[in-house]
Symmetry: C2
Subunit: 407 residues, 2 copies
């Protein structure tokens, strides 16, 4: 496999205005939170009130780094003051979330946002939103916070977005979002030529039947990744994964087959990155030939904007686009009735993607997307079923791999 | 574990007016379809046209069998005639689906509805719907159908529901829906004290890390289920599953922990049934204390109405309701702020459930549901996080299990 660019660190590239966070273990996160809390208490005792200082995640503090092909944060900071009407709510919520995360990492467990939500359910208007009414008795579990509680209590019927709060907390601690041990539902699966330890259990993905191994949200429990795979085959949707798994495609072409079942969760994205790093193999992407497929591909590649502070552990900038590509439609003679007309929304999304950094940096990708937009036609991976249900594994992929047909 | 009722067959119970289907292997399904096709060709040659006769799946042909606690089909039949304006479309579509299923079982592979859809994509208006334009050249793969094609061709721009068509095909063949090898996306996961072979691979669910083993949609690839589990803990939602898996709950209480992540797919339901049959252990259900939780519980127990012909392989009538039950809210002193008011829709659903067979047959369940409706309060499993993130695994479940507190 050629065309793999050496990955450089941000420092080596000469960017010194960039904020990035680190993977931290439970102990480190706990210590950082204790420091933050002690500083806060000291500030209160000194009559200054709480001021949380953290990297700004605003659009104008985000930057696309072409060499890394991902979005990172610059080094502007924002301050959340408790004695300001505009930020008192968020400051109080962050205090509560610091306390909860401290509990979680001290116990070395993982929880969901929903678990956090249930520490005070009536304050949350919907699942996506976290609000906190800091009940004084809750704060006893975290002694340093008791002092805060008495001052914070009256202010706290608050409902900002939980993801934003967790992102702020991670940025301020200086750790990845995963290091907070707050995980989402996992949904990715894997089969193929890779083994690893998961919480001490030896997992051999060549022997995971046809259903595969569920990729945990708790990716930091995965260690010792090894294997004979020569590439990762990253599949957008589960149906293609199922075909590949049932046909044991990896026995003929040594690879790791992963799907995030559409829009990938954080666990799947981290897993793909971890496998890539451990095995040092390229990633070949099998996605629908439509703007939505490209958007999902870009999430694997460049992360999403609101998690740019954490993009290093989540992204694989050099994913190769194997298929299904717009030029494949004619090359593989996909019949008219298996092509779908793009909707107005598809076309609009496609036009916006033409400006996206992950497209513009690669002339071959630009050409493919232009062809899609010119023909106004899209197609799904499963359109290949038109030639037979196993055409994907027996003809299409073998031809692609033998010709090195990816861009 | 007490209270397990011996399961009787429908014949033993004296019902002779009931239609049920069988698990069939690929060869049997293929042969049945060939017989159906040969009969159809013979009818056409005899000048009678095609008449497909199959069990009716209409509401008035469905019956709840209290002893089995599931819905079955009675023995009324319906006829789909090709020479009738009202049924020509469905008859033609069934012909095409017979042909496709014949290909699939002959190749011994599994496909998704989407794969079927892509044999003629432009004819399907949405994924849930199957339409067929039988292209004559497609029919060459199944010689007996060629004759049909020339007559059927002009009629076939059709869009009925694919699930209904597949259910009709299964009923007419006399096999379970799974025997057709058309599978949905799988989403269930399992950990715990059970081992099995999956497509020949030995799977030990005590060594599946924290993410667990993905349950395949292709459950007929699972054989040799063994294990030391004393019960199946069936969990509605993934967050509770994650807690149980990370805490390795099954090491302290030997059990199999399964979740279908909300509304379960067919694969998960069949897997639970297969584990129950193989290990002969009770199933304890951990669901939200709300009407939606009860509805999901009922899907595991009594199947859904449109699959009543196939309920034997899918249902577990004697699931015990362990929690979270309406009476638990006071017993476990769930604080007010972790209880949620029922919406008007919740209350309406709850009232309808009061009439449902799976509730009325158990006085204790009726009482619980009445309490929910009287108090107009619901609560989720994760409300227990209010007492600590591990309260579920360290206090609630151990107490429930030691007291035998299920109904």
């Amino acid at each position: 496999m050629a065309n793999q660019e050496a990955m450089k660190t941000i420092a080596e590239l000469g960017y010194n205005d960039v904020t990035e966070v680190l993977e931290m273990d439970d102990e480190e996160v706990a210590q950082r939170i204790e420091t933050i809390a002690t500083d806060a208490v000291r500030a209160i005792m000194g009559g200054q009130g709480i001021n949380y200082v953290m990297p700004s995640r605003a659009n104008n503090n985000q930057k696309y780094i072409p060499e890394l092909d991902r979005i990172v944060l610059l080094n502007a900071v924002k301050t959340r003051a408790f004695d300001s009407l505009s930020s008192v709510r968020k400051t109080a919520i962050m205090t509560r979330v610091f306390q909860l995360i401290h509990q979680v990492v001290r116990k070395r467990i993982h929880v969901t946002k929903r678990d956090l939500f249930y520490t005070d359910v009536k304050l949350f208007t919907k699942q996506e939103e976290v609000g906190c009414f800091i009940a004084a008795q809750r704060l006893y579990v975290w002694p340093a916070a008791n002092l805060l509680a008495s001052r914070v209590l009256p202010w706290l019927r608050l409902v900002p977005q939980s993801d934003a709060v967790l992102d702020d907390v991670a940025c301020m601690v200086g750790c990845t979002r995963t290091s907070l041990n707050v995980v989402a539902s996992d949904k990715g699966v894997v089969v193929g030529c890779v083994t690893f330890l998961e919480d001490g259990d030896f997992i051999d993905c060549t022997r995971m039947g046809v259903g595969g191994k569920a990729i945990p949200s708790l990716v930091n429990k995965i260690t010792d990744i090894k294997g004979t795979a020569q590439f990762v085959l990253l599949v957008e949707k589960e149906a293609a994964f199922m075909r590949l798994a049932e046909d044991r495609f990896y026995q003929r072409y040594p690879c790791v087959i992963v799907t995030g079942k559409g829009q990938p969760d954080v666990g799947t994205r981290q897993f793909v990155r971890a496998v890539k790093d451990a095995l040092n193999v390229p990633i070949l992407g099998l996605f629908d030939s439509d703007p939505y497929g490209l958007k999902i591909l870009s999430v694997y590649m460049s992360s999403s904007k609101n998690m740019s502070y954490d993009s290093a552990s989540l992204t694989c900038p050099d994913i190769k686009w194997l298929g299904l590509r717009p030029t494949d439609l004619d090359r593989y003679k996909i019949p008219e009735q298996c092509r779908l007309p793009m909707t107005a929304e598809d076309i609009e999304t496609g036009r916006r993607l033409l400006q996206a950094d992950f497209i513009t940096k690669n002339e071959a990708w630009v050409k493919e997307l232009r062809l899609m937009l010119d023909t106004k036609v899209k197609a799904e991976i499963q359109a290949l079923s038109n030639f037979g249900f196993q055409y994907l594994t027996e003809v299409y992929l073998p031809q692609k791999l033998e010709r090195g047909d990816w861009i």
